[in-house]
């Protein structure tokens, strides 16, 4: 019942020198592999998605009555488990810079304007087919201090709660054809071309709405607990009756 752990062809190493903030924050001791017990195969996802209010239109959810400035986009996709089965009720929270590349955050000192009508945060839960959908604006690139003339490619941060503690994921979605991608140490911390490609949304003309917004598709594949993990607990329960 040992977990599959972090596949080194998919997940970035904690220590990635080109991304300077990892140097004093990455653990140096090896991770210790633990089996999936009830503490790992449960998780807050189901309870959180039952409580979570839908707040999926970032172009208006600042609540000012005005609309965010920028190129309006629809970001949609499916959340699946590692057997390609849809995860219904997954909670997705996103956050992003505005169209000028500025976050509504006290430590963001980039000299770009805040948008009075853009909060930069949204949340929703997946439906029975595992589908989520956000309306937002395309975020801008922005400079950061990692190295000379460093610019983050446009991205949207994703936080996902699937059904278990094992399936928790925080990641970033990028846009196709962005010339900054080959230069970005965070994107390139992902070790293989194939895995990096899974972080890039695809332009989806079938999602694009005429006269309204461009469509992008981004699927998220979560780790699941190992095979039939809670069977022993259910069996115990019945055997005691």
């Amino acid at each position: 019942m040992d977990g599959p752990g972090r596949d080194p062809t998919t997940f970035p190493p904690y220590y990635h020198e080109a991304y300077r903030s990892t140097v004093r924050r990455a653990p140096r001791q090896p991770l210790i592999s633990v089996p999936h017990t009830l503490s790992e195969i449960t998780g807050p996802g189901p309870a959180l998605s039952a409580m979570g209010a839908q707040d999926s239109d970032l172009t208006t959810n600042m609540g000012t009555g005005g609309e965010a400035i920028g190129e309006r986009i629809i970001v949609t996709g499916r959340v699946l488990d590692d057997h390609a089965m849809p995860e219904s009720g997954a909670l997705i929270e996103i956050w992003q810079a505005n169209a000028a590349g500025r976050y509504r955050h006290r430590v963001d000192d980039h000299r770009a304007p805040l948008d009075p009508h853009f909060l930069g945060y949204g949340r929703c839960t997946t439906n029975n087919d595992g589908v989520y959908r956000f309306i937002t604006i395309r975020p801008g690139a922005y400079p950061w201090q990692n190295h000379p003339n460093a610019w983050r490619p446009a991205h949207i941060h994703f936080s996902v709660f699937g059904p278990s503690w094992v399936s928790r994921l925080i990641t970033q979605m990028y846009f196709p054809g962005d010339p900054l991608l080959p230069l970005d140490p965070i994107f390139n911390s992902v070790p293989t071309d194939a895995a990096r490609a899974r972080l890039i949304a695809t332009y989806a003309h079938d999602v694009t709405q005429e006269g309204y917004a461009l469509g992008f598709r981004f699927d998220v594949i979560l780790r699941g607990p190992n095979a039939t993990p809670f069977e022993p607990f259910a069996t115990t329960h019945h055997a005691r009756r």
């Binding site: 190493p13 924050r25 653990p27 210790i32 017990t37 941060h157 022993p232």
Partner: protein, 191 residues
Amino acid sequence: MTSRDLTPSQTAGPFFHSGLLRDPLNTLTTGQTQGERIRLEGYVYDGDRTGVSDALVEIWQANAAGRYRHPADLRPVPLDPAFVGFGRAGTDEHGFYAFETIKPGPVPFDTHTTQAPHIGVCVSARGLLDHLRTRVYFDDERANSDDPVLGLVPEPRRPTLLARRRTVEGQTVYRFDIILQGDQETVFFEL
């Protein structure tokens, strides 16, 4: 589909607060919650023993009776209608975090073995390309010596997983520092 198709992780970066901490979630209890009230608090430190001021600490735990609020926990142990078991806190400028919660009950390891009371912890931050997982155990629990997961940890490193109990103005406080790197580096788990 294989594990090779999973979506890779990326750092939460420094700007997650307005999104992930808009609604405070560091008090897990209400007046009706059953169990021993505790405060779980500590600092997140980097390899220079500087407080990490932009970390996100998330916890997941069973209720006082040892039941998880989750469809996979099918045991005949009561749920507490006034307790979910999830908490989320950001660190302050000194790297400090705190939760108001209850001490969880023991939960099974397998059909024959019980785990000592513990709280699952997930740490995200700028500079962490994936979250880190650890567990809080309680230093005054005798069951720690038989815990099968603590047993997987080399003995000299086990103290990094023990929250230290003290009483402050009548309240039980457990202190649990998370040291990302260096001497006394916290044990992190691969699930």
